[in-house]
Subunit: 151 residues, 2 copies
């Protein structure tokens, strides 16, 4: 019996070593998705830099070519949005996570009643905090070549 | 000894039931990344619809608003590219997977020597084959507001 259990236990114990990393990764990626969704809402919908900064790490490396770098750049963007487009609504349609990255597919409407932009953002997180941002932005066309919509 | 091993083995055996799904998912997601990278290269760089269609499922639901729907729409796009932009080069800078989706962050240059476009594509896969596509495309600006680049 003990020999049988030893034989049975060894591969299971090997899994104990190999698999918790996957489970921990999965839990961290779910947490990262929640962090990015809350951060996104604070920046684009609440337009509240203080609320957003709770989710920020020690840096915010900005790759959006229209935005200044760093947390100060983000603060400037939030204030610009609050002043010029107070009714901006950005709705996350899909959210993905892979490793330290979270990706969101977003419909952003700066002025109610306009078609708005399709956006995909990529965020990098370190220790559960947002530290880097890339995005691609495209105005939604009036007459698409197919009936499937951009989302 | 056998009592000790039984105690040690039970949580490990429980993991054997709970974790293989995660491991199988991880392996499928890695396979999906390879499929999308090969599909992307066949469409954008080789411009070879027959090579690309090996990776296609029974449908190709197109959300790019400039492209016609379905495998036939993709064939038309590949032929357009081959004829009008034979030197197009699309380089995948980052690739992510989450569940049935693969996301690529791409620098696409249709004419050598031009700045090109930043693109993020999302592909959905079913049974390891590409069945749906969304993207967002943005021309790279001449004078970005930060020094970090778009990638």
């Amino acid at each position: 019996m003990s020999r049988y259990l030893l034989t049975a236990a060894l591969p299971a114990l090997a899994l104990l070593v190999a698999q918790p990393a996957l489970a921990a990764d999965a839990a961290q990626m779910e947490a990262n998705k929640k962090t990015v969704a809350a951060f996104y809402d604070a920046v684009l919908n609440q337009k509240d830099f203080d609320a957003a900064s709770k989710y920020l790490g020690p840096r915010y490396t900005q790759h959006n070519p229209g935005a200044a770098d760093g947390p100060e750049g983000l603060k400037g963007f939030v204030n610009f949005l609050k002043e010029k487009f107070p009714n901006n609504r950005s709705e996350i349609k899909r959210i993905f996570a892979d490793g330290d990255y979270v990706i969101v597919h977003v419909h952003a409407v700066r002025e109610p009643g306009t078609r708005g932009n399709a956006i995909i953002d990529i965020f990098k997180l370190e220790n559960g905090k947002v530290v880097e941002h890339w995005d691609v932005v495209q105005p939604m066309p009036e007459k698409p070549a197919n009936d499937n919509g951009m989302f």
